[in-house]
């Protein structure tokens, strides 16, 4: 046995793969932005008073949460364009798949957040003479935002993590860059370790930042500070 681990290659590829982290983040941020829009829309649908609208919301979340992201990606990139008679770029398919998939999870986060605000908060607002819009903007929204921030950041971390899958359709982000480097150097051990390190640092920083943000936004119930 005795494989000699080439530390020089490892350290050479850490910054090279770190440079590809921009692409990973770009895909993930675009996806979470799409997911937020989708989440807002579908959460509203799921809380609607009309049964049909609620049913559409349920079908959406159940379908995107009940199938693997990889299958959704293959379906969007190889399947849908055939039917529509168009071609779409790998990047677009990646952002769409990641965003629509993440959107189903964000929907549940938003829905839970909105439902967690007690009815009495609405009543209190009205009794103070606020309009429904004022109640939504000044009473419900700030409290919801604070409650959904931790799960929303977790969902962003999950989105960054699963964005590795978009390398399958050829988007050059960290994982694809690592695969390309392995093909040209035959050093999978060093390069995949470097890729793992880059992801670890990236995700660690994001989740830590989230924790700090959470703390900064925490409001004392009594003083309002």
């Amino acid at each position: 046995m005795g494989y000699d681990f080439n530390a020089a290659i490892f350290w050479k590829y850490v910054p090279k793969l770190w440079a590809a982290a921009g692409a990973t983040l770009w895909v993930a941020v675009a996806a979470i932005a799409l997911a937020s829009g989708v989440g807002l829309l579908v959460a509203t649908a799921k809380l609607s008073k009309w049964r049909v609208v609620r049913a559409i919301g349920i079908v959406y979340t159940e379908f995107w949460r009940g199938t693997p992201l990889l299958v959704q990606l293959l379906w969007l990139y190889f399947g849908i364009p055939l039917v529509l008679g168009v071609t779409i770029s790998a990047e677009l398919a990646a952002v769409l798949a990641l965003g629509l998939w993440s959107g189903a999870h964000v929907t549940e986060i938003f829905r839970g957040g909105i439902q967690s605000i007690e009815d009495t908060q609405h009543y209190a607002g009205y009794s103070l003479g606020m309009t429904p819009l004022q109640v939504a903007w000044r009473v419900v929204l700030p409290q919801t935002a604070r409650r959904i921030l931790p799960p929303f950041i977790s969902q962003f971390v999950v989105t960054v993590k699963y964005s590795a899958l978009v390398s399958v359709v050829g988007v050059v982000e960290i994982t694809k860059r690592a695969e390309m480097a392995v093909v040209s150097t035959f050093r999978p051990l060093e390069i995949y370790l470097a890729a793992a390190l880059v992801y670890f640092v990236l995700l660690f920083v994001i989740s830590r930042t989230g924790k700090l943000l959470e703390k900064a936004l925490r409001v004392d119930a009594l003083t309002g500070q």
Binding site: M1, Y3, E62, F63, R65, G66, T67, P68, L69, L70, V71, Q72, L74, W75, F78, G79, I80, L82, V83, L84, G85, K161, Y162, S163, A164, L165, S167, V168, T175, A178, E179, V182, P188, L189, Y192, L193, A195, A196, Y199, F200, L203, F204, S207
Partner: protein, 223 residues
């Protein structure tokens, strides 16, 4: 031009398709089983009194949770064989990686379950003359299981869905087989739709099964 759907393309390949489906279910079952057992072990070790043991387990859990499963899988399949003195088949690499990955997440779920039971329960059990193990088995675990079951269930559904990623290292499971069929027949839309429906049926069944367990088996005793 309008697209003509040919969902019947699957007819010719139905048997191998279902066979690949069985491979998916088998590897998912293996990963869920091994992942749960290892998760219990790691979860218990993280509650241990030894600081070193706790530290090792924390590093283990965070290493798996803060890197993508796909990178872990590529590492296990392409890099690990260089440093271990035996051959690793794709299926072994896949099951090993997903089981370890699942155990890291599961250990967190189990830990949360143990922590959800108030400390006073342990004190009460000890005061009644039970041993620590007895309190764990009879008081803490039965209550903790009820708390963690929903999270555990969605984790295991996640594991089931993650087996689709095995297709990148040539495990003959259903996503890989469907990719192959799509390249043979150019019926990507129909085939991936059928594939999605397969996964949807499986996760729906798992979810319903979970709900039955939750309401029939784990129903709260004091009502």
């Amino acid at each position: 031009m309008a697209y003509h759907f040919h969902f019947e393309v699957i007819d010719r390949y139905l048997l191998p398709f279902l066979h690949a489906g069985r491979v998916t279910l088998t590897v998912a079952g293996l990963c869920i089983g091994i992942g749960t057992l290892l998760g219990l072990l790691v979860g218990a070790l993280r509650a241990s009194r030894s600081r070193i043991l706790r530290g090792v387990c924390t590093v283990y859990v965070e290493a798996f949770r803060l890197t993508p499963f796909m990178v872990q899988l590529l590492f296990a399949y392409l890099a690990l064989p260089l440093i271990v003195p035996f051959r690793i088949t794709p299926i072994a690499a896949a099951v090993l990686t997903l089981s370890l990955n699942a155990s890291a997440y599961a250990s967190e779920v189990f830990r949360a379950g143990i922590q959800s039971v108030p400390q006073t329960q342990m004190a009460a059990g000890l005061a009644l003359g039970m041993t620590r193990i007895q309190v764990f088995r009879r008081i803490i675990i039965p209550q903790g299981v009820r708390v963690v079951f929903p999270a555990y269930l969605s984790l295991m559904i996640q594991v089931m869905k993650d087996t689709s990623i095995f297709s990148i290292i040539a495990v003959p499971e259903i996503t890989g087989y469907t990719k192959y069929l799509a390249s043979q027949t150019f019926r990507s839309f129909e085939l991936y739709t059928i594939l999605a429906l397969f996964y949807f049926a499986v996760t729906l069944t798992l979810g319903q099964l979970g709900r039955v367990i939750e309401t029939r088996v784990l129903k709260t005793q004091f009502k």
